[in-house]
Point group: C2
Chain length 134, copies 2
DNA sequence: CAACCGGCTGAGAATCGTTGTCAACTTCAG
DNA sequence: CTGAAGTTGACAACGATTCTCAGCCGGTTG
């Protein structure tokens, strides 16, 4: 089996995007990252930012989640294993969450109703202390 | 206090949309509903379908959830109280789920990290038996 | 029953995040 | 150093949803 994946090249742009993600602990949108890079004088085309983020997501390097109004937010999480998030809807600050209970619950409920290939979406939104006091 | 809510009028269009929702047990997109109505010879403008659905959602009459690719799906659920869904990603068939465990878990995790105004998104996706055998 | 006020409708334009296009450019194996 | 092939970026294209606004119609009044 040869999945003949195209060779991946290291470019200034990819390094820049990866770096911007390393530089923060919060979930950021593609546009925010694009702006950050531009300001930092390390400009990268918006399309490239999107492409790079998508690649990182596909490679499991980065997590994505969609805002209530449909915008995608990206974050370089500490652990690569499956986990969930508690995100500040104001500033993006994030806490990685483990939910063994939820995992079992989801799988069980799915099977219980004859559904297969079960997947689950579990995200928590709130307002962090700092944002609440601001 | 006068929340002076504007009077709501019953129109052919609103009745049609409401009826289309009654007619199915599955999560449907605004466009699907619009098409259904058109076919049924009970045409309603797409904008009106969207407006009506939004109103129903605001009134807690209908539940919404977003597809993985950002499309909104609507469904007239049996219970008005908070609950979750196990949805067939193929046909939209849905099972309403109760997750007392999850409710408590979400609230606890949020408070535990000093976040306020906690909200949670918990949806289960799978493939129903019929769709799997097709 | 007719007149009216104001909410409602719909065709089409406008949004907006995201993806597709494609010629010019850059990486890197040989 | 060279050439083949992956990358880039300005800009067009998309697709779901929302906005506009002139014309329409529900329902209340007299
Ligand atoms: Zn915050
Ligand atoms: Zn999980
Ligand atoms: Zn199904
Ligand atoms: Zn819940």
């Amino acid at each position: 089996m040869s999945t003949s994946s195209a060779p991946v090249r290291m470019t200034r742009q990819r390094a820049a995007v990866a770096d911007a993600l390393e530089g923060t602990d919060e979930f950021r949108s593609a546009q925010q990252l694009h702006e950050t890079l531009r300001t930092r004088g390390d400009a990268v085309g918006l399309a490239t930012v999107y492409r790079t983020l998508q690649a990182l997501v596909d490679g499991g390097e980065v997590d994505v989640l969609r805002t209530e109004d449909g915008e995608s937010l990206y974050r370089r999480c500490a652990r690569r294993e499956h986990h969930h998030h508690l995100v500040c809807r104001r500033c993006g600050r994030t806490v990685e969450i483990d939910g063994p209970t939820v995992e079992a619950w989801a799988a069980m409920v799915g099977a219980e109703h004859g559904f297969g290939e079960i997947e689950h979406t579990v995200e928590l939104w709130g307002t962090c202390r700092d944002c609440r006091e601001a």
